[in-house]
């Protein structure tokens, strides 16, 4: 945390110049153009925004985008928390193996991983064949929200595990020993001591996964169907198929504003949890 609070020497600012230049060129400038066009095309005014909020399907997809992002984040937390905990208490060899299990899929392109999920999830895919062989009924996975959620969870999992692991590694496990000596049942001491101290990691990972989920494109496109379209797909349709840069831009701006809204809501919680665990070192 000292990195955040420590005062940077003046020279350090110079070192950030290349990054700032690149960001201006490839982020700020195009984004400015998009915002501009959302208000200016095809005629100047708020027409694109009025259209967005008056078209029910847009609102449905926006709500669905947030719903899917929420479930993906929730699944990531549930899967990543025990995994990161195992990483933080494992011996050096097991830890390396666990880290590799996170990183190797991460190095494989998201497209490839999503296509692998297509093979697993499709109606005659691996999962359904196993279910049939075990005497269960077929489950529709591909082109459903469930399928999209499963695929996105797997693709985004590293973004949850890594921040969690970083925080958990810094938690002194001897605190749990102290809690036991003071009369706390091991389960209780976990919820009273360990969980609160690990919350900054949960928030950091959850924010990352949630925001990445909101703008996810490839995975929902390949695993989803018409009933699980996310906003990014609609934007792509507007811009590339219908060549309506104004409407596409407006949708992008709405998504961005909504994202900021979520961050603003999460902000106070995150600050609090950082303060809480600030002295853990």
């Amino acid at each position: 945390m000292s990195v955040l609070t420590g005062r940077a020497p003046r020279g350090a600012l110079l070192l950030t110049l290349p990054a700032i230049a690149v960001l201006l060129l490839v982020m700020a400038v195009p984004f400015g153009v998009i915002v501009l066009r959302s208000f200016a095309e095809p005629v100047p005014g708020l027409a694109n925004y009025v259209w967005f909020f008056q078209t029910p399907v847009n609102l449905t997809v926006l709500a669905r985008t947030f719903t899917i992002a929420f479930w993906v984040t929730a699944c990531c937390v549930l899967v990543a928390y025990p995994y990161a905990f195992a990483m933080s208490i494992a011996g050096p060899r097991l830890r390396l193996a666990l880290i590799m299990c996170v990183l190797v899929p991460f190095w494989v392109s998201g497209v490839v991983r999503t296509l692998a999920w297509v093979i697993l999830l499709q109606d005659s895919g691996v999962i359904n064949r196993i279910l049939l062989a075990l005497g269960f009924e077929k489950v529709r996975l591909i082109r459903t929200q469930l399928g999209v959620t499963i695929g996105m969870t797997q693709v985004l999992l590293p973004f949850m595990i890594m921040p969690l692991y970083a925080v958990m590694r810094g938690i002194d496990l001897r605190l749990l020993q102290a809690a036991r000596s003071l009369g706390a049942h091991p389960v209780k001491s976990f919820f009273q001591i360990y969980l609160p101290l690990s919350l900054p990691g949960v928030f950091a990972g959850a924010t990352l996964v949630f925001i990445l989920s909101l703008g996810f494109y490839i995975t929902p496109l390949l695993l989803g169907g018409p009933q699980s379209t996310m906003l990014s797909t609609l934007i792509q349709q507007q811009v590339l198929s219908l060549l309506s840069w104004g409407r596409g831009g407006a949708m992008g701006v709405v998504l961005l504003v909504a994202t900021f809204g979520v961050l603003a809501l999460a902000g106070p919680f995150m600050r609090r949890s950082y303060q809480i665990s600030g002295g853990s070192r």
Partner: protein, 373 residues
């Protein structure tokens, strides 16, 4: 000698450690250790790192499982009671305060686990913090406190629920010398006020001497000797104990026992020590620096019988009230002597006579221990 006798209202627990062992795979951390700690006693576990003292403490606290033997608290076996049900206060070297809780919340934690009511809890927390003189820090967070203050909070937290036994694992190990001495006095005062039994783990023999009613000296997973600081200093039963407690010189040589005395030949000189040889093996004489007089060669015995050795002054230190000499003997071994400062000191390189009364020689079996803690 122990504290049990000096207080009628004593609420400390008696600990009976009964032949306990702890093995980690093939490694023996503790082998067949037995010990009784009296109610209200201040007992220190003293020994070098890896000697088994912390292992014993962890077994009493319930942090690790016994490999063998049993531990009883007031005649009740706790060997298989989980740590959170033992009702034993523990103070750790690393403080182990909960960083996300204020000082008051930390101290209230054990009371909350015991479902103590809110008003009673607040009162007990305040009293415990007053005992460690931190009542004005209740709303601070651990990260805002110094190491010494954090350890006081940990002490308050460990005693607030009125445990009959308090375990301390090198609680002052992370603090500087000045602060250590202040807190030693405070721990002693709190021990008197509480009347609980204290078990204190340390590798610092001075700290053990200052604090304890009795000291158990650990070495290689066993207890070498249990006794008051004075007993351990004046009548060590093993060379290890003799060397671990206080300063000492060790003289080695062939020996011959006769008539309740043993003669040890060191650098060609026969030295007398009281008592028969301990066992079959080699014997040593252990000497405390203040027992040895330094005198000019040829002075001879001053009164009664004396052991006399001659040597060369290798090192001299002025300590204010005393002079400390390092004297090298003809066979290359060293003797440390501390004498009151009087007259002109002997110069470096001077040949001197070392003289001491035979009964000051402690005759011990040579267990191969070497000085240096």
């Amino acid at each position: 000698m122990n504290a049990a006798s000096n207080e009628a209202t004593c609420k400390g627990a008696a600990i009976d450690i009964d032949g306990i062992s702890k093995f980690y795979g093939g490694f023996t951390a503790l082998e067949n250790v037995s010990l009784r700690v009296e109610p209200g006693e201040f007992m220190s576990f003293l020994g070098p790192s890896g000697s088994g003292k912390t292992t014993t403490l962890n077994l009493i606290a319930g942090f690790t499982d016994l490999s063998g033997g049993d531990i009883r608290l007031d005649a009740r076996s706790i060997g298989h009671v989980p740590a959170h049900k033992r009702n034993i206060g523990v103070v750790f070297q690393h403080y182990a305060l909960f960083p996300h809780m204020s000082v008051a919340q930390n101290v209230a934690y054990p009371l909350k686990q015991r479902r103590v009511g809110k008003a009673e809890r607040a009162r007990a927390v305040e009293e415990a913090l007053r005992k460690v003189q931190l009542d004005s820090f209740a709303h601070r967070y651990p990260s805002e406190l110094s190491g010494g203050q954090q350890q006081r909070v940990a002490l308050a937290r460990a005693m607030v629920f009125g445990p009959s036994l308090l375990l301390m694992d090198e609680p002052l190990g992370a603090l500087d010398k000045k602060l250590r001495e202040v807190l030693q006095l405070e721990i002693k005062r709190i021990h008197r006020e509480l009347g609980s039994t204290f078990v204190y783990v340390t590798h610092d023999q001075e700290e053990a001497l200052v604090l304890s009613d009795r000291i158990a000296v650990f070495n290689r997973g066993r207890i070498e000797q249990v006794g008051t600081g004075q007993t351990l200093y004046t009548a060590p039963q093993t060379l290890f104990v003799g060397q671990f407690i206080g300063e000492s010189s060790v003289l080695r040589g062939p020996h011959r026992s006769a008539g309740g005395e043993t003669m040890l030949t060191v650098a060609g000189t026969a030295l007398t020590a009281p008592g028969a040889a301990n066992g079959e093996g080699a014997q040593v004489i252990l000497l405390r620096p203040e027992a040895v007089m330094v005198q000019a060669p040829g002075t001879g015995p001053q009164e009664g019988r004396c052991n006399i050795l001659s040597g060369v002054v290798r090192e001299m230190l002025y300590l204010g009230s005393a002079m400390k000499y390092e004297v090298t003997l003809a066979d290359g071994s060293h003797v440390t002597a501390r004498t009151p400062t009087q007259g002109a000191p002997f110069a470096l390189g001077a040949t001197v006579e070392l003289a001491w009364r035979p009964q000051e020689s402690v005759l011990l079996a040579d267990d191969g221990s070497t000085a240096g803690h």
